[in-house]
Amino acid sequence: MTAAAGALTAPHRHWARLPFAGRPLAQAGAIGAFIVVAIAVFGPLAAPHNPSATSFSDVLAPPLSPHHLLGTDQLGRDVLSRLLYGARTTLEAGVFATLLATLLGLPIGVVSGYFRGALDVVIMRLIDVTLAFPFLLLAVGLAAISGPSLWNAVLALGVAQVPAVARIARGETLSVRELEYVQAALVNGERSIAIMRRHVVPNVLSPVIVATTVAIPGSIVGAAILSFLGLGVQPPTADWGAMLAQSESYLNQSVWLGIIPGLAIFIAALSFNLLGDGVRDALDPKRRR
């Protein structure tokens, strides 16, 4: 049912006002993302065991074992507890990376678009250079300089996304700065900093937010990749990517160790992808059908 037809036939029905009404995939994504976030926030409270507690009498137990719903790993640690704690690490890395990209990219793009001219050219060229270092290379470089860690992974993922955010912010700023209220503020003698903060940033924020929502699943998978490769979270911290990396040597004995954490990453990324698609479709009039 199209939005217009829905408005004509059922203007007062409550379900019609639910977010993403008539978009079941986006709704499924929103629910999935909500559950993943809830697990990241409250999961550690629900964990039945200490995620780092080893038990060598109880290694590689299959799922549905007594006391261990999802089994145990090669050190006898409870997989369910590690999964619940790992949600926080994995999600934190993904969300902080996207946040970092926004905090760096937004001001860079706004300043570049607002002042234009030589400054703009220099900034955009530097942005192009950043693009020549995909996040994996940045992570490799940072790991070489100061050792692998969660925060180096976040830094690499975040910096790698700065160009995308900066370009969007710059493009929007270029058009916003020509609008009457910005020109009026200029004539009024307001300082550039004040104009950018009060008039430009609020107006370029929404496309930037859409872009970052769409980028979150990429960051989550990116964080998982880095910890899988040993460039992110270090053992014994529970993390979905690291759990998969450790499972590789035990796949012959325990298939589940290779499946469960990957399924968790997959569900989280899929939910955020569906949600991101929904947000973009809802806010972009060109895509509205």
């Binding site: 060229r125 300089i145 998978v221 040993g230 499972s247 590789e248 298939v255 997959f266 899929l270």
Partner: protein, 318 residues
């Protein structure tokens, strides 16, 4: 047109120079300073002093950069302290392996992604559109390394059909080579295919709504020709750009897939260098990858200008 090409090449060269500057700065930020980090034996003061002389690390920074860049351009990337082999020969050994993996995956991605996108766009909202879109979204969300583990579990551990990893050079038999490359290339290629499918679909939908397509239909051009020739040709311009944008992701994918399937390519060389703190090799690999990335993007840019008459026209006016 010529000017546009010269301009693009000049920009690429500047970007490349700035990228080397970043790597140079990173080398200086290494623990113990550049001479210690790049020495074959970082614990011996004599070796460190010799390295410092060779690279001119005791001279002013500008000259240091010049000397270092000169060495790098001539392929003198130092010697690995771990293997005692020149970094350049190590890299040269592994490039064909990674290149084979990259080309095979791109082929798989194009063969699956573009037809699937066309099929989905032919009847938007239809059953094929739905299936292709859901599969593609799944493909986007599934991390390469987990997909890799899953296919190893199925085809190697469970069915014993294909090897779980490793590599056999083509010189020792094409069959064995492809047998080892098949799973990794499929894992990498299907991920890319998902991206290509989504982009082909939306570009096709846009083309199919254009006036020239309506005209073609009105004058009675058969539907397969409208879709396969008129609309697709125009959509491919967008698809080429998307392949360019995916190169960064492809690099990350190659490294993870090489790690999962134990393929001795550039990715594995990079990771081993990080684990073993082999800074000479690391510096070489990062320079190589950044250069490859910039050059590939330049080629995509040029292909785009050649393919798209509108870009050619604007460049001519500008």
């Amino acid at each position: 047109m010529l000017w546009a090409i010269i301009r693009r090449v000049a920009i690429a060269v500047i970007t490349l120079l700035l990228a080397t500057l970043v790597v140079f700065a990173a080398v200086h930020a290494l623990p113990g300073g550049p001479a210690t980090a790049l020495s074959v034996d970082g614990t011996s003061p004599r070796v460190v002093a010799a390295t410092a002389r060779e690279y001119g690390f005791n001279r002013p920074l500008v000259i240091q950069y010049g000397v270092w860049l000169g060495q790098a351009v001539r392929g003198h990337l130092g010697t690995s302290p771990i293997t005692d082999l020149p970094v350049s020969s190590q890299i040269a050994q592994r490039i064909p392996i990674t290149a084979e993996l990259a080309v095979l995956s791109l082929l798989i991605a194009i063969v699956i992604g573009i037809p699937a996108g066309v099929l989905a766009a032919a009847r938007p909202g239809g059953i094929w559109d739905w299936i292709a879109s859901v599969v593609a979204l799944g493909g986007l969300s599934i991390p390469h390394f987990w997909f890799g583990i899953l296919v190893i579990l199925l085809f190697a551990v469970h069915l014993h059909l294909l090897p779980s990893g490793g590599f056999i050079p083509v010189t020792q038999g094409l069959g064995g080579n492809l047998e080892h490359m098949l799973l990794p290339a499929v894992v990498l290629g299907t991920g890319l295919a998902a991206v290509l499918m989504r982009q082909t679909r939306s570009a096709m939908l846009e083309s199919l709504g254009a006036d020239y397509v309506r005209t073609a239909r009105a004058k009675g051009v058969p539907e397969w020709k409208v879709i396969g020739v008129h609309a697709l040709r125009n959509s491919l311009i967008t698809v080429v750009t998307v392949i360019g944008l995916q190169l960064g992701g492809l690099i990350a994918g190659i490294v993870t897939v090489e790690e999962v399937f134990d393929i001795p390519g550039i990715g594995q060389l990079t990771l081993d260098a990080v684990y073993q703190r082999d800074y000479s090799t690391l510096q070489g690999v990062i320079l190589l990858t950044a250069a490859a990335y910039i050059i590939a993007n330049l080629l995509v840019d040029l292909a785009y200008a050649v393919l798209n008459p509108r870009v050619r026209a604007t460049e001519a006016r500008a």
